[in-house]
Amino acid sequence: MTSSVRPRATSHLDALESEAIHILREVAAAFENPVLLYSIGKDSSVILHLMRKAFYPGKPPMPLLHIDSTWEFREMTDFRERFARQQLGLRVIVKINEEGRRAGVNPFDFGSNAYTEVMRTQPLKEALTEHGFDAAIGGGRRDEERSRAKERVFSFRDRNHRWEPRNQRPELWNIYNTWRRPGECLRVFPLSNWTELDVWQYIEREQAPLPDLYLAKPRPVVMRGDDLIVVDDERMRLEAGEQPELRTVRFRTLGCYPVTGAVESTASTIGEVVQELIETRYSERQGRAIDRDEACAMERKKREGYF
């Protein structure tokens, strides 16, 4: 099948796509043992799609790593198995902090800080060390949160997976410094220059598959503080007087279900999501308790190795 060159000039989505593919190929070529951190959210779904494009007709030459906090939405883990593992036939590594699970670490009793540290950051660091990964690709975008605006595309981490903002490598043109010593690792963010809207427009244009949680439908929810929490399974601890009710909601961002706020919405197709997004006055992360804990919470978590 042969089609001709698109007559129009390069659009911003074309430019961002090309840049991201360049970054993904650079990772494959310059590192011995890279991995894609696959969180099953929209950003890592876009990266997975870009990865298929970058190495077509070959398969992406690296495994996927999912840090399973055990509190993800069931639909996310289903999607991981059905799409990434079965349909695409990719190698998917699932890492769970078993010790944390045995100790019953959950977001209700431990606070989101300690919970995140035990069920996400720790197993992530362990998995990286265990498998000897020297590059870990993530879906971080610079528009998400203020400390991310200064994050590099190829972000250097020391042997303890720590990020030091004063010690970052300058990043020039599209020529990335990929040198590292044994034990050192780089985090790579191919979507650095994308905004939330870019991601959704791209998903719409490319018909990239992602979990249905992003589309509005009636779901059982409780109102907790300012957040609409979806009751995803029987482990959800209801407080006195709380009675789940069906509301038409969707998610702008996905994390652990007990700490991820949904938004009321009627957008049930990707096109409607895009439209809704250009009209909203609220930022993407308003539903994530983890960012609001205290000022600069994200920066501190990152210094300690959080993605």
Binding site: D143, L172, I175
Partner: protein, 650 residues
Amino acid sequence: MTSGTIAPALSTTAVRPVEKDLLRFITCGSVDDGKSTLIGRLMLDVGAVYSDQIAALQMESEKHGTNGGEIDTALLLDGLEDERQQGITIDVAYRYFATEKRKFIIADTPGHEQFTRNMATGASTADLAILLVDATKGVLTQTKRHAFIVSLLGIKHVILAVNKMDLVAYDEATFDAIRGDFKRFASKLDITDVRFVPLSARHGDNVAEPSARMHWYEDGSLLHQLETIYVGSDQNLRDFRFPVQWVNRPDNVFRGFSGTIASGSVRVGEEIVVLPSGKRSRVRSIVTMDGTLDEAAAPRSVTLTLEDEIDVTRGDYLCRPGNQPHVGRTGEAMLVWMSETPLNQGRPLWFKNAAGRAVCEVESIRYEVDVNTLHRKQSDTLRLNAIGRCSLSFHQPIAYDAYEKNRKTGAFILVDRITHETLAAGMFLDYGLSGDLAGSEPRFLPARRVQSPIDDSHRLQRYGHEPFTVLLTGLPASGKTTIAKHLEKRLFSRGAVGVLLDGESLRHGISKGLGFSKEERSENLRRGAEIAKLINDSGQFCIAAFCAPEESMRQQFCEIVGRHRVVHVHLDASVAACRLRDTTGRYLAADNGEIYGFPGVTAEYETPATPDLTIVTEELIDLEAAAGKLIERLASGICSGGGSVAVAKS
């Protein structure tokens, strides 16, 4: 309504989003020029800040703000904890916003002492620069520095934003004076498009909307300029350059070369050349997951397959045979030094460009640019934030273009091989052999010829022999160095004074950085000839051992040294004999294509037609016989001029 509900848009432009074009720009200004305020204002006015972020900003403005409780837009930008607590800005930050017409990426660089490094970083990916000037201060040294770096990094469009117009009563004359000042200065730089916008970032005049207080200004707001400026022509659409990033071999059938088209375009069926190997083929297909293409252009990332099974690896360039970049082992470049550790000349460093990596050395610093005066000064090192022009040599041939002609294939970084720190950003200058550069003015007055005060006859008396040069030529491993050494020993023991000059040894010093192309081999021999001439001029003998595979090169050698002084000795041995004798592995490497243009294997070796002497070294190198023959020859006199070369000092 809960905050979890999506509120209706403030703007009524609920149109379908479309794919837009992308403008990357950098903002530069000194500490108090109001840069953060301007960017914050711009983002606020175009609606790039969400309500919950504005609410947070309001709280912070009351706590840390400098605007008397009003929203301090500068606080939007200083994101890092250290920055907000200590009031410092650490590094380049990237911001994003979009209007109906365009998507924008801002590289926001701090104006502090590390500005050169940070600015170069931000400017490297930008199409346009906003230079901020304080209307109460006018064009400062700092403004000129910024403009110089912007020009050096190849940005063709500059908007001079004259801020704080509110503090000069929106006065047109003040603006005009600043505009005139900057225009005069910018004419010295390589910036093709300069625009001027008077504005007040604090009050929003001429930022997103035209100001009612500056009716005299009619060119539209800053945002209007950003939305309409045309940067498409900055792209190099002419020269097809495809750095191979990744060889895609999913199975035994498919073999494709993946990369991002750096410039130009390519069509199926077109002939291409692989650099640096020089092998040729044709494009069989342009593969993408969305289907194959007939043609693809920069900046697309694609996968190409070729008609022939030729060797192509990561780091190679695919180009058109009639339009190739320079390939060589030397280069001239501007460096922006980014490390606390100063440049140490001659130390091997990692080099990385669009295609791949190599080892390189900075051979010399031609000059350093004083960024305050733009004058050139002598320097033997480059320190943090210094900019200088340097000569580089590479341990393998590198393909590159001049940065001026191609921002993608003319750029590179240097990385420390031990610490892995990014040391410098580099931009290649127009190339030319041995550093003769097109378009650069001569730096010295024409050279004079200095006459020695010592008479030739006095030298003859002192040394007991006339000066002469023995030129030993032959295939690699034909015995040149071995015979040369033995001859030197014999001559030395007889009291003669002289120097042994070996073509290979020259490459460690005098010819460091020269490669093995025909031109570079010829240049190495030319340098050898000039040295032999100097040695002979001083009354001493010279034994010169060079492969010299071409007759014209040997002739040139004799002309430079003086025909009457040279005995040309050809060491005669077949390629097969030399290959057997070779212990250095070079023949093997040449067979495997690791060495480029190897005489007798992959390059022609012209047997000398009329050497002064031929010594056959096919079976063995009989040193005594060879040296004896040579000395006999020298003693019998060689010169057509009649005098004899008296080797013996009786």
